[in-house]
Assembly symmetry: C2
Homo-oligomer: 161 residues x 2
DNA sequence: TAAAAATACTCCATAGGTATTTTAT
DNA sequence: ATAAAATACCTATGGAGTATTTTTA
């Protein structure tokens, strides 16, 4: 079981509706979410939801698991915060890759908007190729995941675009 | 962050050695484990390990996170047990696919050995193809994951072997 | 110089997507 | 008739593998 399943289950359980949870809260497709919830149930060997035509309802086990899932997610969030605090990181650093065509076009407004939304995150822009040590390991969280044009998008473990 | 990362980190932290944790406890390759631990550190933005040539040592943040990770994993185990109990499943059912060639050759000793190791797990063997409702969703946990002969192995979402 | 970790790729399992069908109201 | 969930199938992300190189006690 993975934490993703818990996040998914909590969303579905709270909304009692797979389609809306998928679209509005989790931003994944309805079939994908249905599948993940079913996999979770299979793995636990416990039915968590009762499916009806118009929605979905929690079983007794599902209600209990909702409480547990929330608690576990909270637990992990707090654990990360605590450990970050110990490491002396009150501010998060977000490193993002930059590529020439976007510089000066979308980046300024993008950065401004992001800074506003996440004031505790410090954004660092890197050129590519570069000698910068961060280029080895950073995860490019802003780069849009684009299915139509395969030129861009998050490309883990490789060269940032 | 996913629970897998926590399991991996706990193993590495307890053994203070990536290679041995990979081989002996987690049964994954050393590079894969190194990568996952590094990804975890990147995602948290906190250095958890100090790498030396002969081993690996926990940082202060790492020590704190070890406690947290253990607690979270325990929390999830207990949550699953609790919910399983509510659903009235004291015994786990393991459904495995069967195929003619193996029947009568490896299955009997395999089942005997498994039953001994996991007395609380009830193993059910299914023919294929079959009308059985379990054939839709069961996860075939016993089927060996074999990289050399691609004929078998866990094949999620499809027809069991 | 011998371990342990890091790096550089390759591969494939599976999360996620689109299209469609089923189901219950 | 409609809205939600299930099913079928496809794509491609990223976890895991093998081979190799770097590091330092």
């Amino acid at each position: 079981m993975e934490l993703r399943h818990l996040r998914y289950f909590v969303a579905v359980a709270e909304m009692e509706n797979v389609s809306r949870a998928a679209m509005q809260r989790l931003h994944v497709s309805q079939p994908s979410l249905s599948r993940q919830i079913r996999d979770l149930e299979d793995e636990m060997g416990v039915q968590l939801l009762e499916r009806t035509a118009k929605s979905v309802r929690l079983t007794e086990a599902g209600r209990a698991f909702l409480d547990e899932a929330r608690a576990i997610l909270k637990h992990t969030d707090e654990a990360v915060s605590k450990v970050r605090a110990i490491a002396g990181k009150s501010q998060t650093e977000l490193h993002i890759g930059d590529w020439p065509l976007a510089t000066g076009r979308v980046m300024p407004s993008l950065l401004r908007a992001y800074q506003q939304a996440m004031p505790n995150t410090k954004v660092k822009v890197h050129d590519w190729p570069g000698r910068d040590k961060h280029c080895r390991s950073a995860r490019w969280s802003i780069a849009a995941r684009d299915h139509s044009s395969s030129a861009q998008g998050k490309r883990a473990r490789g060269a940032p675009v």
